[in-house]
Structures are given as structure tokens and as C-alpha cells.
């Protein structure tokens, strides 16, 4: 196995990593979607059983299978992450384009970035979730409204670089309109950045979703979100039910790490200038 890996070049290795992480992620989602309700059902005879071959992650105080709950929770986290990352990327693109308009707009966008970065992230999430009364919408909107600053900064810097490029200046002097330049010169360069930024937003969004749900502001307690599972497990830790917290958290870690791996390798593949610097 090791011989095979070292024989591949960087490009082939990157593509292999991308494909493998996509396969595992698809596996998590499809198994989360395919689990039918009776795997989640209450079975009091099996309650509080330690991990075994039948219940790989053990069961909780109501006899529910933790593996099924964890997979459902991961799928839920991923959908929240998808929505939040999508909206956040949209906001980032919009603000970056706005910043390229003129100097005053640029100052405004920079000020807005500073404003959002000046309040601790969790506090801002609590505030937004409080304003929206919690729940699924509160989390998604909160995550969408707080994850754009770093990507906006990146896109803005990229755009400033392109705008000062020679061919853009020539294009301008040839009489092309700003919209034409934005569409034909700037936007194509931003697409890889945007796509990679979108993927790399996932890990942050998912971790923050779990954190805010854990604190009690996010998804409601009936849903098997990872944050809910972990905050419920706190009540049973002192009685020694370690598997209630260990496996769901570990699964979350693995999923987040996979998204991180996917994003970084896509960066190496699509944006070699930035991606291959280590």
C-alpha cells in the first residue's frame, strides 16, 4: 500500500485524497438518510448498554442506538453547515464585489469586517440566536451572518490584486465597461477561491453549530443533533456512561477533519499558486 502511494505524484495523490474523502462523506450522509425511524426507537430493555457488536456505539438511557442517532446528527449538522456555508459565501462574494466598486465602499466593507470580528464569535451567535428565538432558522441565519468576514477579506485581497493587473488596465483603456471587466476578468479568477472558501467554511460552521446547540441556543432537543447528544450525555457522565459522549464527538471530529482535508486538497488542485505553499 505504501509503495503504491509513494509512486503516485502530488496531483494523483491529491485527487485520491479528494475522492476518498468525498466517498466517506457521501457514506455518512446516505446512511444518515437511509436509517429508518425504528432504529431510533425507544427500547427500554436495552437501555444503558455498553458498546457491543449489535450496538457499536452503545445505547442511551432510553435504549436508543447511539450509532443511528450519531449518523442522524451528522447528517443534520451537514445540512445546517451546507445552508450556512452557502449563504455565507454569497454574502462574502457580494461584499467583495461591493468593495471593488470604489474607495468609500471598500472602507465600508473593511469597517464591517472589523465590526463583526470585534465581538467574540460565540457571543455574536448567542445574540443572533436570541434575536430569532433559537431553533433551526436561528442557527442557520446566525452561522450565515457570522462566517463571511475571513472569506470576504481573502476575496477582497484577491480582487485588489487582479484589478491592478496590467491586462485589466489595458481592458479598461480599450473602453470596456466595469461590469464587463468584472464579468470577464475578475469573476473567473474568483470562482476557485469561492468554491474552496465554501468547502473550508464547512468545518467552522459545523463546529459552531455543535457548540451553539450544546449551549442550548440551537436546534431543539427533540432533534438528534450532535450538540444535543453531547449536552444530554453530560447528565450521565458521572454514572460512567462514557460512550454517550465519546463516539458522537469522535464522529463529529472525523467529519470535520474530512471536510478540512477535502478543502485543502481541492485548494492544491484548483489553486496551485496558493495551495502548494506550505
Amino acid at each position: 500500500m505504501r509503495g503504491v502511494i509513494s509512486r503516485l505524484n502530488l496531483r494523483q495523490r491529491t485527487i485520491t485524497r479528494i475522492i476518498l474523502s468525498i466517498i466517506v462523506l457521501i457514506g455518512i450522509v446516505s446512511s444518515g438518510l437511509l436509517i429508518d425511524a425504528d432504529r431510533l426507537s425507544i427500547d427500554l430493555e436495552m437501555k444503558n448498554s455498553a458498546p457491543s457488536l449489535e450496538h457499536l456505539f452503545g445505547t442511551d438511557w432510553l435504549g436508543r442506538d447511539m450509532l443511528a442517532r450519531t449518523l442522524k446528527g451528522l447528517t443534520l449538522s451537514m445540512s445546517v453547515g451546507l445552508l450556512a456555508a452557502f449563504f455565507s459565501t454569497g454574502i462574502a462574494l457580494f461584499l467583495a464585489l461591493l468593495a471593488s466598486w470604489n474607495k468609500r465602499m471598500d472602507q465600508f466593507v473593511t469597517w464591517l469586517i472589523d465590526l463583526f470580528l470585534s465581538v467574540p464569535h460565540i457571543v455574536l451567535l448567542i445574540l443572533i440566536s436570541f434575536a430569532l428565538g433559537g431553533g433551526f432558522n436561528g442557527v442557520v441565519i446566525g452561522l450565515a451572518l457570522t462566517h463571511w468576514p475571513s472569506l470576504t477579506r481573502l476575496l477582497r485581497a484577491e480582487m485588489l490584486q487582479i484589478k491592478s493587473a496590467e491586462y485589466v488596465g489595458i481592458s479598461h483603456r480599450l473602453g470596456k465597461s466595469r461590469l464587463w471587466i468584472a464579468r470577464h476578468h475578475i469573476f473567473p479568477h474568483l470562482i476557485p477561491q469561492l468554491f474552496i472558501g465554501f468547502i473550508l467554511l464547512f468545518p467552522h460552521a459545523i463546529l459552531h453549530e455543535a457548540a451553539i446547540t450544546f449551549l442550548g441556543f440551537g436546534l431543539s432537543t427533540e432533534q438528534p443533533a450532535i450538540g444535543v447528544i453531547l449536552s444530554e450525555s453530560m447528565r450521565y457522565l458521572s454514572t460512567g456512561l462514557w460512550w454517550l459522549a465519546f463516539f458522537p464527538g469522535l464522529s463529529l471530529l472525523i467529519m470535520v477533519a474530512l471536510f478540512d482535508l477535502l478543502g485543502k486538497n481541492l485548494q492544491t488542485l484548483l489553486d496551485p499558486f496558493h495551495g502548494q505553499k506550505r
Binding site: D114, L115, L117, S118, V119, P120, H121, I122, V123, I126, L127, I128, S129, F130, A131, L132, G133, P203, L207, A210, A211, F214, L215, G216, F217, L230, S233, M234, L237, S238, G240, W242, A245, F246, G249, L252, L253, V256, A257, D260
Partner: protein
């Protein structure tokens, strides 16, 4: 030195803080005014049936809830400028007192974790940078990248299970033993309660500093003056000590100061896991219990906290680094 320049710098930063606080307060006030959570309802709580609609109306009138939001904001802002942040609904005491008391507990936690993660992150970074490409480097890098995907509160839960429940070395939660008067608690007791939350918080903080230090050290080790020192026969720790340490220490310290926001966020989660009575726990309770004055107070306070961290980081770059100091501030 250039006193006018220093004065101008301080003035610029003060104006920045003032505009920032005004913007943050307007933003949070607007958000809260849209909240479906009724402050009168959350104030009365379980006694809802015993309080008639007239009394509720009287409370709303007394708090000025019937005024338009802009008027409410101006009233609140006027009080804040006079040092009155209002009264916390949950703790039934002035918000400023609550924040001060809670922040002291949080400061012990965050300060300890901050120093620990700084020292260990720096050491790990140096080790990884010196041994670039070896298994030590890969191990440290892998550890840092894994940490970036780890939910910090889960680490807290694991530590709690391992050290408190299983091994029984540390207490399960709270900031002090239950049922003991505050003046009877020994320093050692407090430290034992502080240990696990601080450890949780510092484990999460190590990654950033370590990766940054590693990167900087590798850059420095590739420089000409280090090559010259190597040619003279210096190597290993003496080389790093003599030629690299001062160069990489300043950016690392600056970076560490600039991470106050993440530190605060981590403290919120760690305090929740360990039921540690700090500011982070207070903001969670304020949010869940609809305690608007306390929530607003903590938002403003945490903004100032983060600002101070960034300000010190900026100052370190500009005033202490002789290369930047010479240009101008």
C-alpha cells in the same frame, strides 16, 4: 521621542474603540428588539398567573418598553454613559457588579489557560520548526491540525470523564466546593477546580501559536545570517537561542494577544461543561433566560476585551519591534 505621534496614535485608537462600541451596541440593540422573547414575561417567570395584565403593563411602562426602539436605545445609552448598565433580571443585582464578579473568575481561568497555551504552543512550534520534516514535526503538525477540527467542549467532556469520574483526581465541576463558605475555601481548592477547565481551554489554544511559530522559525533558519552562524559552527538549541528566538517571539506573542476573541469563546464552552461560575456561563444564562440588560452588558464588555487584546498586539508590533519603531507609528 515623538510625543505628538504617540498622542495621535492613542487618540486614533480611542476614537476607533468609541465608534466600535456605538456600532456594536446599535447592532445588538436592534437584534434584541426583534427578539420574540418578551422581557416582561421572562422577568416574571413562573409567577405569570399571579401577575395581572395591568401590573404587566405597569412593568412595561416602568422599563419604557412602550417607547419607540430609538428612544429606548437613547435612554439606555444615556444610562450606560453614566455608568449604569441596568439591573440583571436573573441575578437581581446591577449588571456592572455581576460582570465584575464573574469576570474575576473567568480571568483566572482564561489567564491560566492563555499563559499555558502560549508557553506550550511556542515550545512545540520551536521543536517542530527545528526538526522540520522529521516524525517529530509531523506528529506536532498532525496534532495541531486535528485540534482545529476538534470541538473544544468535547475535549472538556473527555477530560471530565477521565480525570474526575474515572480517576477521581479533580472535582466534577463548579468554581469552589459546595456548602463551604467563600472565605473558608483554600487557594489549593480553587486551583483544583480551575485545573480541568483551564486545561481544556489551553489544549485548544496551542495549535495556532505552534503552527505560526513553526512557520516563522523555518523562515528564519533559511536566512543568510543563520547560514553564517552555522558556518561558524553553531547548531541546535544554542543557534536558536542566539539567533532565532527573539525574532520569532514577538510575532508569536502578538498573535497570542490577538486571539482574545477565541479565548473568550472557548471559555464560554469550557465554563458550560464544568459549571464554572464565570462570565461565559453568565452570558449563556442571560441568553437562555431573556436577561436583556446582562446580555447587552456582556456583549459590550467582551468587545472591549477583544479590543484590548488586539490593541496590545498592535502595540507590540509598533512600539517594541525596533525595525518598525524607526519608521514611524
Amino acid at each position: 521621542m515623538h510625543y505628538t505621534q504617540i498622542a495621535r496614535y492613542i487618540l486614533k485608537k480611542t476614537i476607533k474603540l468609541a465608534t466600535l462600541l456605538i456600532a456594536v451596541s446599535i447592532l445588538s440593540f436592534t437584534l434584541i428588539s426583534y427578539s420574540p422573547i418578551d422581557p416582561v414575561h421572562s422577568y416574571i417567570g413562573a409567577d405569570m398567573t399571579r401577575v395581572g395584565p395591568e401590573q404587566r403593563e405597569a412593568i412595561a411602562e416602568y422599563w419604557g418598553l412602550n417607547d419607540p426602539p430609538v428612544q429606548q436605545y437613547l435612554n439606555w445609552g444615556k444610562n450606560v454613559l453614566q455608568g449604569d448598565l441596568g439591573t440583571s433580571l436573573l441575578y437581581r443585582s446591577p449588571v456592572a457588579d455581576t460582570i465584575a464578579e464573574r469576570f474575576l473568575a473567568s480571568l483566572a481561568l482564561m489567564g491560566l489557560a492563555w499563559i499555558l497555551s502560549g508557553i506550550f504552543g511556542f515550545l512545540l512550534g520551536i521543536l517542530a520548526g527545528m526538526k522540520e520534516g522529521t516524525w517529530v514535526d509531523r506528529l506536532i503538525k498532525g496534532y495541531c491540525f486535528t485540534l482545529a477540527s476538534t470541538p473544544a467542549f468535547w475535549v472538556g467532556l473527555l477530560l471530565l470523564m477521565l480525570f474526575s469520574v474515572w480517576l477521581g483526581w479533580f472535582p466534577v465541576g463548579l468554581g469552589s466546593p459546595a456548602g463551604v463558605l467563600a472565605e473558608d475555601i483554600s487557594f489549593i481548592e480553587r486551583l483544583r477546580h480551575l485545573a480541568l477547565p483551564a486545561l481544556t481551554l489551553s489544549i485548544a489554544g496551542v495549535a495556532n501559536v505552534a503552527l505560526h511559530t513553526r512557520q516563522k522559525l523555518i523562515e528564519v533558519l533559511e536566512s543568510d545570517y543563520v547560514r553564517f552562524a552555522k558556518a561558524k559552527g553553531e547548531n541546535g538549541f544554542t543557534l536558536v537561542w542566539n539567533h532565532a528566538l527573539r525574532n520569532i517571539a514577538l510575532p508569536a506573542i502578538s498573535l497570542h494577544f490577538a486571539s482574545f476573541g477565541e479565548l473568550f469563546g472557548g471559555a464560554v464552552l469550557a465554563e458550560q461543561v464544568f459549571s464554572y461560575p464565570g462570565l461565559g456561563q453568565a452570558v449563556v444564562q442571560a441568553g437562555l433566560g431573556g436577561d436583556v440588560p446582562l446580555l447587552l452588558g456582556i456583549v459590550l464588555f467582551s468587545t472591549i476585551f477583544v479590543f484590548i487584546g488586539n490593541f496590545i498586539a498592535d502595540l507590540l508590533y509598533k512600539v517594541i519591534d525596533p525595525r518598525i519603531r524607526k519608521v514611524d507609528i
